[in-house]
């Protein structure tokens, strides 16, 4: 993306386009990657509720894949996941492994 010059920026750094955070892909910050193991998922949606970045997608009321464009890898989903019979449905793996 070409960065704007000083003549092009808005007065006083006011942001005039609502919802433009979607253009700022924060997923590159991640050092740990959450992996969803569907076989252990009980569809409690705790991960969806706890995710601070809305990076857990839900389709038709059911858990869907992570949005890795915005997941920063904080791991709160993995921590909160109750899993099934002692097996977590979300585990954290090192990026680039």
């Amino acid at each position: 993306m070409k960065l704007k010059g000083w003549k092009e920026v808005t007065q006083g750094a006011v942001i005039t386009e609502a919802g433009n955070a979607i253009e700022f892909k924060t997923g590159s910050w991640r050092s740990l990657r959450p992996i969803w193991k569907e076989e252990n998922c009980i569809q409690c949606l705790f991960c969806w509720m706890y995710c601070p970045d809305m990076a857990v997608k839900v389709e038709d009321g059911k858990r869907a894949e992570f949005d890795y464009d915005f997941c920063k890898g904080c791991g709160i989903c993995a921590l909160e996941c109750p899993g099934k019979k002692g097996n977590k449905a979300i585990i954290m793996e090192k990026e680039g492994k």
């Binding site: 960065l3 704007k4 010059g5 000083w6 003549k7 920026v9 808005t10 007065q11 006083g12 750094a13 006011v14 942001i15 005039t16 609502a18």
Partner: protein
Amino acid sequence: MGRVVAVTGNEAVAEALRQIGPDVCAAYPITPQTDLMQRFASFVSDGKVDTELILVESEHSAMSACIGASAGGGRVVTATSGPGLALMWEMLFVASGMRLPVVMPVVNRTLSAPLNIHGDHSDAMGARDSGWIQLWSENAQEAYDNVIQAFRIAEHMDIRLPVMICLDGFIISHSIERVEYIDDQPVKDFVGEFQPVMPLLDVEKPLSYGPLILTDYYMEFKKAQDVVMSSKVKDVVLDIAEEFERISGRRYGLFETYRLDDAEIGIVILGSAAGTTKDVIDSFRDRGIKAGLLKIRLFRPFPYKEVADALRHLKALCVFDRADSFGAHAPVFTEITTTLYHHEKRPLLLNRIYGLGGRDYMPEHAERAINELIETVELGHVKIPKEYIGVRE
């Protein structure tokens, strides 16, 4: 023509604010606030102005509330003094960085310690780099006139920056002088309706003020801010002064010169001490000594070219500062030196610090400086570049 009254500088400024009737005023209601705000609060309580007055718990909060109200889309004013301005520090930069046209009379007082409540320029000179436009006043009339013009300067569409109107603590703020008030309607017509730019309260166009701007963009915003200060403000200040002259009969510029054109030695000063200095210059002129004066009105942005053109013909020049930068030259002196450096023919320069903590500035201080200038011209070099004046050994 309006009314001629005997009032203090604070009364005159409060009257200007009543006539203008800003939408919002957020102010800290106790010391170090002066009776400027007390008088304006009385106008609000008595229903003489319909400004929303917000009494806050600190000066930091006062400026914060002004920033919010200004971003919201209102015409906003506050006032402060000395340590109050110091407590606003962080938020001064936010107001200017967000390009918000907040107007603030500052009753110039010193900073502790030792604890002292009297007048000097330490407060506003400390805020010189905060991105605010600074207009300085010699007397109550100028303070009143500067406040009225400040709204037009701040709110000009090419500028949109906050303006500080400086008036010397006690000497101007608390002394009674003759002041000519303009009638309410001409003042209201001159200032006009407030035109918001990107107001937060416009729900049809949602906006965010105050975003995080990191290494990739911060300098672009600062450059844009400096370009406005450096290249736009001077012309607007002069245009508005010309328009103001038509309703008041009083002429303002970027600075005032007094018997300077044919002078050989000169004094640069700002604020109330200029009046005393003019009298002393007259007495030297009576004795055939060609002395003159330049009184700064617009200190930020600093009109380098114009000031240099007015001063460079002098043989010697003394810059008076009512604030110090300890271990360095004082703020007005550094500006004068900076601008004259670029001219091959330039005066020899002295820096004299006077009137700190409200110490009286006496005619003999100006006399001593002019005698030193005469001696400097004879010697052909400067003996003591920086010195305190009116201080006991």
